[in-house]
């Protein structure tokens, strides 16, 4: 066998170049990990199946708002400090979120919460003989007729609202002769800045558990709105200090989350910095609630409601065990296959090239995956094994076709061309069969389909032609 002639062949050179490039892209580095053990890290991105984490598929109520929703989710996730998160759209109908290290409940809280934030202050108006006064701004007469009220010339039934001097009031309740109007002090869009640093946040123990508090800055409009609403609310001087008789109620997605007392000092003042606080059962609970609320206020409400339609939660220990066995499976499979080949041909000169070709196919597929930043998950590993399987089949075809005795004087080159005709046709069919998988199942099988297709293409263009050249050298060199 003429090794130098072989080494100069363009197919062999291309194979070596691909192997070299793949190793460079995979970038294996020998590192000393924190626990003292030595390990190898690569730049191959491991999918959720191998690392553990949560993958959620979300269906937005309004698909046209997908991009905006993704932007909002990204802000939310960043505010929470989650760096290992991937959010992307799948097709035109779904959003896929992958997060490592969070529980399923936490994911649902972050993703399914639309995040509509409102802060409201109630005003109670005592009516006598059907009339009372709303002490707000220029003061307004309120007439009550059964359950209907008339204020500022407008007739309101329960749940109707009107706007007075730029503030929205909703007629929310009536008990006996007392009319309850709820003024909208802040909405999510009024929040200009959310403070997350230690100076502006606090978590303290209370008698009933813990309480978190953090400061936010609201717009000038919102600040003056608050001033107007609170200007004429009476103060209640109690043992703990002076507070207004009405609280400010915080709502998240129309559910009340907390009700805060308003200090007398804030009465009628245009305050742009306000403190938001809430309860927690434990310190961790309080911190978690605070972070979620901060994230929601920072990102704003989701443009459209999201529904989790598919969720996969893989535990990290399970993921790690998959990884180990997958690597082992690939190597062991190649070894066993070589054994089968040996039984058939009984010639090491054939078995060794097949072994090397298959291993280099795996390497180059991983190299391409590193290059295009493709994540390797369980499906991708199955795809690699599938591609290697077709690789072995093709190499058997090449070996057999090249050793066929024929009545016509066909050159070895021609026989190899025949072999590749079969190989190319089969390769096209495999690619055709895998292509639909790229588009269905909300991308769940994209990893499998892509690695198989990439593997087949690499095989047909690089590794198997090189193998054919080696076989030619073996046969002709004899």
């Amino acid at each position: 066998m003429n090794y130098t002639k072989l080494a100069k062949d363009w197919r062999i050179l291309m194979l070596f170049a691909s192997i070299l490039l793949s190793v460079i892209f995979i970038h294996p580095v020998y590192v000393l990990q924190d626990d003292g053990t030595a390990g190898i890290t690569t730049s191959i991105r491991k999918g959720l199946d191998l690392e553990g984490g949560v993958r959620a598929l979300l269906e937005p109520e309004d698909p046209s708002l997908i991009q905006k929703t993704i932007t909002t989710l990204n802000i939310r996730v960043n505010t929470l400090g989650l760096t290992e998160t991937r959010i992307m759209s799948v097709g035109s109908k779904y959003i896929q979120v992958e997060m490592a290290g969070l529980s399923e409940k936490e994911i649902r809280d972050i993703l399914e919460q639309q995040g509509k934030f409102d802060a409201k202050i109630k005003r109670h108006i005592e009516t006598k003989d059907g009339s009372g006064v709303l002490e707000f701004g220029g003061n307004y007469d309120v007439s009550l007729d059964k359950k209907t009220i008339i204020i500022n010339g407008e007739i309101l039934d329960i749940n109707d609202s009107l706007v007075l001097e730029g503030v929205e009031f909703e007629y929310t309740n009536i008990t006996g002769n007392t009319v309850e109007l709820t003024a909208l002090a802040y909405v999510g869009e009024d929040v200009v800045k959310v403070f997350t640093d230690a100076q502006h946040t606090r978590v303290e123990p209370t008698e009933a558990g813990y309480r978190f508090s953090f400061q936010i800055m609201v717009s000038a409009d919102a600040a003056s709105r608050f001033a107007k609403i609170t200007e004429k609310i009476p103060v209640d001087f109690g043992a703990t200090g002076g507070y207004l008789t009405e609280n400010i109620d915080l709502y998240l997605d129309d559910t009340e989350v907390d009700s805060l007392r308003i200090g007398s000092g804030l009465k009628g003042s245009v305050e742009s910095t306000i403190t938001i606080s809430g309860p927690g059962d434990t310190q961790d609970d309080a911190i978690e609630k605070m972070r979620n609320l901060q994230a929601i206020l920072e990102s704003g409400a989701l443009p459209t409601k999201l529904e989790i339609v598919k969720i996969d939660m893989i535990s990290p220990t399970l993921g790690e065990s998959f990884m180990r066995t997958a690597i082992f499976a690939i190597i062991f499979a190649i070894v066993v296959v070589s054994f089968v080949i040996f039984i058939r041909y009984r010639d090491f000169r054939i078995v060794i090239p097949i072994l090397i070709t298959s291993l280099s196919e795996v390497l180059i597929i991983l190299g391409v995956a590193s290059l295009i930043h493709w994540t390797i998950d369980l499906a991708a590993i199955a795809g690699i094994i599938a591609a290697v399987g077709t690789g072995v089949d093709d190499q058997i075809i090449i070996t057999d076709e090249s050793s066929r005795k024929e009545k016509r004087m066909t050159s070895l080159k021609a026989k190899l061309r025949n072999a590749f005709f079969i190989i190319f046709t089969a390769a096209f069919t495999t690619i055709a069969a895998m292509t639909p998988l790229l588009f269905i199942g909300a991308g769940a099988l994209r990893g499998f389909a892509l690695t198989t297709i990439i593997g087949v293409i690499i095989g047909v263009l690089i590794t198997r032609p090189a193998f054919g050249r080696v076989i030619r050298e073996i046969k002709e060199g004899v």
Binding site: D49, E59, K105, V309, K310, I311, D312, M313, I314, S315, T317, L318, S321, F322, T325, A326, A329, F332, A333, I334, V336, V337, F339, V340, L378, A379, A382, I385, A386, V388, G389, T390, V392, D393, I396, I397, D400, R404, E406, K407, N418, F421, I422, T425, A426, T429, T430, A432, A433, M434, T435, P436, L437, I440, G441, A442, A444, L445, A449, V456
Partner: protein, 326 residues
């Protein structure tokens, strides 16, 4: 091993395989309403599994608590790399909290971080099922197109396409028997079978149809079998290793489905496809033989005598050559 050369016998054997597969699938349809049992990927629902610290617990007790808290739920155990796991299956959503709740109530210790949950909404599952059917139809259509464009003849092309179809049918039948349900992973495996099945069939068809000069039909069939059986056996070996070594149920199922299909490939390629091609070529060979005889008759007598003498000489030469080689 003596090769069966009668195409009728070959086709009969493959027909038995087809009837077997179709009956299994129809039986499943009549008892469950589906040809293949669907996993949550296609019918919606939740599967949650938790690794528990020891296997000494009463499953029925756990199931009782689970039913109380979750409604209709199936509870079973599996053992794997991580030890024993309890698996909960329900048509609705199961959250991590409810799992913790159930296990705490049953006083079973488990690793809180070692819970795996897969949940698919019912509407999504139905959509996936529709997409799956379209994917299979599309794959077959593309495959058929490629095969037709390659061979340009009807019978051989149909032989290859039907071989792939029967491989998939047989794999599906074995899936029913071995209780493997149709998931996104096993769907991918079935589609992959198209590629593997076609590999051996194209090899066979190319050798039989396009390389007529390479020996008798029987010789070509037997040499193709040697190559093809090596191919299928090494693929089965590779996926068997995957099945034995992997700890992931998903990879296990994919491996098994491909192995099932490859086992079927032995029959569909070397009985069904060979049978169809023998039938197809037998007619063509007959035509060729008749053509040759006609040609011979048309030649003048002196030419025929010359050719006879030449052939006799050649035979003597090859005979002695064979002797020397040995």
């Amino acid at each position: 091993m003596k090769m069966i050369t009668d195409y009728k016998k070959l086709l009969l054997i493959s027909l038995i395989a087809v009837i077997f597969s179709v009956s299994v699938l129809c039986y499943n349809y009549s008892t469950t309403g589906d040809f293949l049992d669907k996993s949550i990927d296609f019918k919606g629902g939740t599967v949650a599994s938790v690794a528990v610290d020891d296997s000494g617990f009463d499953l029925a007790f756990v199931e009782g608590i689970a039913t109380e808290k979750l409604g209709k739920v199936v509870v079973r155990t599996t053992t794997g790399d991580a030890g024993t796991s309890i698996v909960f299956e329900s048509e609705d959503v199961i959250t991590q909290e409810s799992i913790s709740d159930i296990l705490d109530s049953a006083a079973i210790s488990y690793d809180k971080d070692d819970i795996s949950i897969q949940s698919v909404g019912a509407a999504l599952g139905e959509e996936f099922m529709r997409q799956a059917i379209i994917a299979v139809v599309f794959a077959f259509f593309l495959m058929g197109l490629i095969i037709f464009m390659t061979f340009k003849t009807i019978v051989p092309s149909i032989a290859i396409i039907s071989a792939a179809a029967v491989d998939i049918l047989f794999a599906m039948a074995l899936m029913v028997i071995f209780n493997i349900n149709l998931s996104l992973g096993t769907l991918a495996a079935l589609l992959l079978l198209i590629g593997y099945s076609v590999d051996t069939d194209i090899l066979l068809t190319t050798r039989l149809i396009k390389r007529k000069s390479e020996g008798t039909l029987d010789e070509r069939v037997s040499s193709s079998m040697k190559t093809g059986i090596t191919m299928t056996t090494s693929a089965i070996a590779a996926f068997s290793i995957l099945y034995l070594v992997s700890t992931s149920a998903v990879l296990d199922q994919i491996a098994l489905v491909i192995i099932f299909g490859l086992l079927a490939d032995y029959i569909t390629t070397w009985f069904q496809n060979v049978g169809l091609l023998r039938w197809y070529l037998r007619d063509k060979d007959k035509d060729e033989e008749e053509d040759e005889e006609e040609e011979e008759k048309a030649k003048p007598r002196y030419m025929r005598r010359q050719e006879k003498a030449k052939n006799a000489k050649n035979r003597k030469r090859t005979k002695s050559k064979k002797g020397k080689r040995r």
